[in-house]
């Protein structure tokens, strides 16, 4: 079968090297030869965790696990070697709550409630029996976005009403091997069901009390029925009640969305009244209640957002004339300044917190974290919040959150020190896959510093074999090239007007076969008669590429 596929591939002459991977995805056959799936990162500045001093060293990751991390070990013979030159290696960041990678099912349109006060659970937003795993969507663009921002682990929840269902802990590779841990938490929010009961926050809270006490009663009855069912009525237990048994028993952690400070108070009161295990998410500026949070000993996922001071314009002509107007603006400004210190104040009180991106743009993560650091949060605290603290609150600190032998090989590489200055992501390893991110360091047109015109050979190291071909660069104008990529099989792809920036070039194109479209992206750097870089192949990951000059144009 495999040979047949190979033959077919050659006969059709697919472009480049991706075809077998696609066929693997499409055809079900017995056994694919295991790729070595080993990466060796050498020479990076390694930040194992917030509490460890960084050092220059090497990391070997095999099959998604950190096999070795130290100052001096050598590359295993079968590893894909990635040489890092003064780049910074961190444990992959953890997003404590997001809807990335989850496709929430549509509300059943046929569902109706004759009495708005007694809707079926689904209309009421009560779906604790749903599981994110059942709604996993590897193609979610959000995963790639998070990955590009340095997040390798996501706590992914369904959207919905007051109780959306069980969450999952996934990597951001967007593949079928998606779980970081099989722990499932519960996700809840103060969200009413519109025209149906419960529509207001007071009814949502009342419903919580009702559901938890109902679940406790159901479980007690079920246990006594199991012990001696003779003469006992059968238990009648709704699936919502059953799904809440672990929450009611304090065996399952509830992640509760709060979004405003008053709701933080309310969630804490609810937790205390019902004796639940709870962590709060989407937590806004809560510095005014920092002492309370500290004494209540509850973990937080701070919303990764910061006050936007540009949201309104000041009418300066009124400032002098209108005392009330200027007083209000002054008050607002000091409110902003206080809010900016939020994370720093919470850290000072030793409150455990991480960050969640829910509802916010993950690509702004670093900008926001640097702002928090400018406002008093220490670099170590910020680092800890993005990694180990989040891991602890999610109960995954044994498998990820820091770089050490045996933990998952979830890591990110930045060109600069992430917690000090604006840094670009170079690599992310998540779910055992290497991604080179397309963040171009100098994407603006810098002058070409080398002449690359000519015919070059290339070799791409994919897990199962090395793929070869040639690339012809024809200079169209100064620093601008037409590029033709010719695969070993003879198929070619032509691109025009690609800029050479300094000694670097990036180009990508869409490649379609059998209705399957994949984005192929080259990212290479030239040095004399060689080039080096990476090729990203859609969801299959990113692979190293090497090239050398065969001949100059005549």
């Amino acid at each position: 079968m495999y040979h047949l596929l190979k033959k077919t591939r050659q006969a059709i002459g697919f472009v480049l090297f991706f075809t077998p991977l696609i066929l693997i995805g499409q055809v079900d056959y017995d056994k694919v030869p295991d790729p070595s799936n080993c990466y060796y990162l050498s020479g990076g500045i390694i930040h194992e965790s917030a509490t460890k001093t960084p050092y220059v060293g090497n990391i070997t990751i095999r099959n998604g696990i950190i096999e070795k991390i130290d100052r001096s070990h050598k590359a295993p013979f079968d590893a894909t070697v990635i040489t890092l030159d003064s780049s910074h290696v961190y444990p992959g960041f953890i997003d404590m709550l997001s809807h990335a990678g989850v496709k929430t099912p549509e509300v059943n349109k046929d569902l109706k409630a004759k009495f708005p006060g007694m809707p079926p659970d689904e209309l009421a937003g009560i779906t604790p029996y749903r599981r994110s795993k059942d709604a996993y969507d590897p193609k979610s663009g959000q995963l790639a976005k998070l990955r590009a921002a340095g997040f390798t682990t996501v706590h992914a929840a369904l959207e919905g009403g007051m109780l959306t269902g069980e969450t999952m802990l996934i990597n951001t590779a967007g593949t079928d091997a998606y779980l970081v841990s099989d722990t499932e938490h519960m996700y809840a929010q103060f969200k009413g069901a519109g025209q149906y009961y419960p529509s207001t926050i007071i009814a949502v809270i009342a419903k919580w009390k009702d559901l938890v006490k109902q679940a406790r009663q159901d479980k007690t009855y079920l246990n006594s029925y199991r012990a001696a069912s003779s003469g006992m009525e059968r238990p009648e237990i709704s699936k919502s009640s059953e799904a809440l048994f672990d929450v009611a028993d304090k065996k399952q952690r509830v992640f509760f969305k709060t979004h405003k400070m008053l709701n933080v108070y309310r969630a804490i009161s609810l937790r205390n009244e019902l004796d639940l295990d709870m962590v709060l998410t989407h937590v806004p500026e809560v510095h005014a209640m920092a002492d309370k949070i500290a004494s209540e000993n509850i973990g937080l996922a701070l919303a990764l957002q910061i006050v936007d001071t540009t949201k309104y314009t000041v009418d300066s002509s009124r400032l002098e004339m209108d005392e009330e107007y200027s007083a209000l603006l002054r008050a607002q400004r000091s409110s902003m300044n206080m809010d900016a210190k939020n994370a720093a104040i919470l850290a000072e009180k030793n409150i455990s917190f991480g960050f969640s991106t829910e509802g916010n743009d993950p690509s702004k993560a670093q900008e926001i974290i640097l702002q928090m650091i400018d406002n008093g949060l220490s670099k170590e605290e910020a680092f800890d919040a993005l990694t180990m603290q989040a891991a602890r609150l999610l109960h995954i600190d044994k498998v990820t959150g820091s770089l050490q032998n045996g933990k998952l090989g979830q890591l990110v590489v930045f060109d600069k020190e992430y917690f000090s200055e604006k840094a670009s992501l170079e690599y992310a390893i998540t779910g055992g896959q290497l991604f080179e991110l397309e963040t171009k360091k100098e994407s603006s047109s810098s002058e070409a510093t080398v002449d690359i015109a000519g015919t070059w050979s290339y070799e791409i190291g994919t897990p199962d074999q090395v793929r070869k071909g040639t690339i012809i660069f024809n200079e169209a104008s100064k620093g601008v090239y037409d590029v033709e990529i010719i695969s070993e099989g003879g198929n070619s792809e032509k691109l025009s007007a690609i800029n050479l920036n300094g000694d670097a070039m990036s180009f990508d194109y869409e490649y379609t076969e059998d209705g399957f479209t994949m984005e192929i992206g080259f990212d290479i750097k030239f040095e004399e008669e060689k080039f080096k870089g990476n090729v990203a192949a859609g969801e299959f990951g990113s692979f190293p590429v090497d090239g050398s000059l065969l001949k100059k144009p005549e």
Binding site: G117, S199, T200, I202, Q214, R216, V307, A327, L328, A331
Partner: protein, 454 residues
């Protein structure tokens, strides 16, 4: 995404607490209006550990902070038995019976209306569920501890549980007209009560039988029926929105049938017609001084209502139901002297001792007595004078309002992203608080736009 952020604009206020919080306060040489023990002129009153610890002439100052009240009137903090300030949600209008919901779960300590109420001498208000449902939610008696961040700090510890009922047009309109479910008529509302109490009675019987091992399977847990059963057990005081005499008599009949006797009728505009019947039942009444005609069932009204009820022995209070009116309840009480010739003490009881009785907190507040909570308001001019102005309002021995420390902007929090506070240069249409959160079906938009309905 609205992000509310907070700053310490109330810094002055907090400083005040710092100064007074742990300290005794000695209010010297005021005219004490005790409510329960006459007027005491040139008398001192000492506040210690949140309580009134002594009253008398020339009390020793010790380390106390002294407030000179010479020429001023010192009275117990005003109590409003019907209000909706300081809470985030008022109505859960999806079901005609929502006994399980509790507005105390959604207290908003930063509602500026609380501070304004303090400026009107009000130290306690009864934060109520709205009147959309026949049996609405449970209410919370809150102390106006302005300056505290924690909503829990506003709950009056130990105050009895209360619950909102409603008769008449509001529940009929919301459910009958609005959702095409029962109740659509006044008769239907009676059946809501009867059905609910009957269900609760059965639930309670089964629950207790299961608890004592008489049956092997108890009823499915229901927070709603648990709450209703608590009403039957007399653990929750009913406060019922009402206007028409016939309906009020109906509810008293229903309660008699189920052995419930703790009730305070709210609004009660036709209470004057049935004052002896109310008194005989032991029902109480919390009314407006002179507010009516905002809907059909509220036309037959009189400003003599409070006086007639009082003279017939009904424990009567005057309430605000409104963030504006709560700022001058003393004026509202004074109107009973023009309409009904109540004495000073009878008039002031309407906003102190009587609402305290209606909320079941009369042993703690409502009068100036040694041992009671140090909830005090100091007036310039007699509180029933049209020139009366509260100077200082004290809750549990802590100054929460001081007219001399009142800044223009007393907000607890400031939204850092909001262009300007809503109260500055935008005047939003007054929202009907009693029906807050209720959206009726199209064709009844007039219910949104008229100014007040209760």
């Amino acid at each position: 995404m609205k992000r509310v952020t907070y700053i310490y604009i109330g810094l002055l206020l907090l400083t005040m607490q710092g100064l007074y919080g742990q300290k005794d306060i000695l209010i010297k040489n005021g005219t004490l209006i005790t409510i329960t023990d006459g007027i005491k002129e040139n008398t001192d009153i000492l506040l210690r550990n949140g309580k009134i610890s002594a009253m008398g002439e020339d009390l020793a100052e010790g380390n106390a902070e002294v407030i000179d009240a010479e020429g001023l009137f010192v009275m117990p903090g005003i109590i409003d038995a019907h209000s909706h300030i300081g809470i985030d949600a008022v109505n859960e209008p999806t079901n005609p019976v929502t006994a399980e919901v509790f507005v105390g779960d959604a207290i908003d300590p930063y509602d500026i209306a609380l501070y304004r109420a303090l400026a009107g001498g009000v130290t306690i208000s009864h934060a109520m569920h709205g009147s959309a449902n026949a049996i609405g939610g449970q209410c919370e008696t809150i102390k106006h501890r302005w300056g505290e961040w924690d909503p829990e700090a506003f709950k009056m510890e130990g105050a009895p549980r209360t619950i909102k009922f409603a008769l008449g047009e509001n529940p009929m309109r919301v459910h009958g007209e609005g959702k095409n479910v029962a109740p659509r008529t006044r008769m239907g509302i009676e059946q809501e009560f009867r059905r609910s109490f009957a269900a609760a009675k059965k639930y309670r019987t089964d629950r207790n039988a299961f608890a004592s091992g008489k049956i092997k399977k108890g009823p499915d847990y229901s927070y709603r029926l648990e709450t209703l059963a608590d009403i039957l057990d007399g653990d929750i005081l009913i406060h019922c929105h009402s206007y028409r005499a016939d309906e009020i008599l109906m509810l008293m009949d229903v309660l008699s049938d189920f052995g419930v006797n703790k009730i305070c009728f709210q609004h009660v505009n036709e209470g004057f017609k049935i004052a002896p019947e109310l008194a005989e039942f032991g029902a109480m009444a919390s009314v407006f001084s002179d507010w009516w005609a905002y809907k059909f069932e509220v036309y037959y009204s009189t400003a003599y209502n409070a006086a007639i009820l009082t003279k017939n022995g009904v424990v009567t209070s005057i309430n605000s139901d409104d963030a504006g009116l709560i700022r001058h309840l003393y004026h509202e009480a004074a109107k009973t002297q023009r309409y009904g010739e109540l004495t000073d003490n009878e008039a002031l009881r309407l906003i102190t001792m009587n609402p305290a009785i209606q909320l079941g907190i009369e042993d703690r507040v409502g009068s100036l007595e040694v041992g009671k909570d140090a909830d005090i308001v100091i007036f310039e001019n007699h509180p029933l004078s049209i020139y009366a102005t509260p100077q200082t309002t004290i809750v549990d021995g802590i100054v929460r309002f001081d007219i001399n420390a009142d800044n223009n902007d007393m907000r607890m929090f400031i939204d850092a992203e909001e262009a300007l506070p809503a109260f500055y240069e935008t005047s939003e249409e007054h929202e009907d608080k009693c029906m807050q959160g209720v959206h009726l079906h199209e064709g009844h938009s007039h219910t949104h736009s008229h100014n007040h309905s209760h």
